[in-house]
Symmetry: C2
Subunit: 224 residues, 2 copies
């Protein structure tokens, strides 16, 4: 099956499978099953078998999966069996926190160039990175072979910065700016917006909150 | 239509609609259309009309939506027309960055209690918050009326901390620990894992990277 026929929602689950397999390996486990993976992830074992079947045969009915082999195959499929070079744009509070986020390096995603447009920051060294001005963007992106951009700029600047990176051939953007980007079809954007995630959860909470208040009122009426 | 019949994928888009409406209001706009919203978000206008139709009639064919009214309705539907009180568990690098993340407060999500299990941190004040020990969790969560927990603890601690919060009645968890939590059906978890998001994108990148290398090799063969 050609890669482009795999539904994106299936692709989104592969990093989660990879994470569990890494945990299992760290626990010294050699064999697992779709049942065990499903239990750990709150996903049905049938779903896991179906997801993995897009990419080949990784286990046998009754014998399960070899953890190390399946882990290696997922790393190959996700192209994380190599290192990736990233540029961080914006070193405010958020950008500086991302420079200290060790999980990027641990997983082969390396911030190798840092940019800001604040003259007070340009030329200084933050968390071991010299801060470049935005006028150096084209040269540094080319010299450093940047393939991924992390946008940690204010929303008002995000569109322009994204357009400049895309024009330089950067096709993967991790966007922390709370704004939706319109990009060409060959460019991928992933959004990190914890406020939107909180609002997603509170949708489900308000009704019962109201119900609790109603119950309290009703109880008060009864008891007073 | 009862609230629970709205597909979760539709609910996930409501905060994004709300964000765009806030941008439009800030630009002084009074009327918008599903076409304009769709253009800004890269979603079809039909999808937007269909999503909103789950909650009532917000606009008329040909006249569009009143921006302020639709914004207010979405705030009500998402239950963000009130304030929410959150506890942050874990004040390592990530937790400290979250304490400085101003968008939480700007959107009515307030970190009002902070916990850690490190004796060197307990009792100190970080970003204006006194750090509580984990033995104070039950008392503080009750006293402060905490409804949302933010997990910024190591993956090895996340399950236990989540279980304790859930036992105290906290039903919404924003989980930064790279681990999947198994929770009761009335509890919601949202995961923030930028590494998984990067791996999701590199899935689509590797093939063309390989293709580029293949082209380079082929060229080398021809030219050497």
């Amino acid at each position: 099956m050609p890669r482009n026929e795999v539904p994106d929602i299936v692709v989104a689950r592969l990093p989660i499978y990879l994470r569990v397999l890494n945990h299992l390996l760290a626990e010294g486990r050699q064999i697992t099953s779709s049942q065990e993976l499903g239990d750990r992830l709150g996903i049905s074992s049938a779903q896991i078998r179906k997801d993995l079947s897009h990419f080949g045969e990784f286990g046998k009915q009754g014998t399960g999966y070899n953890v190390a082999y399946l882990r290696d195959q997922l790393r190959r499929i996700l192209h994380v069996d190599r290192e990736w070079r990233m540029a961080l744009i914006g070193v405010g509070d958020l950008g500086q926190a991302l420079l200290h986020y060790q999980r990027f390096d641990e997983h082969g995603f390396h911030i190798v160039a840092v940019f800001d447009n604040d003259p007070a920051k340009i030329g200084t060294v933050i968390a071991g990175h010299r801060v470049h001005g935005m006028d150096e963007l084209a040269d540094v992106v080319r010299e450093q072979g940047i393939e991924i951009g992390i946008l940690a700029v204010p929303p008002t600047a995000a569109r322009e910065v994204a357009a400049r990176l895309i024009a330089l051939g950067v096709k993967s953007l991790l966007n922390y700016a709370p704004i939706t980007l319109t990009v060409p079809p060959d460019v991928r954007v992933q959004y990190v917006d914890p406020v939107a995630q909180l609002q997603h959860m509170t949708y489900y909470r308000g009704a019962e909150h109201d119900a609790t208040l109603a119950t309290v009122s009703a109880r008060n009426v009864i008891h007073n």
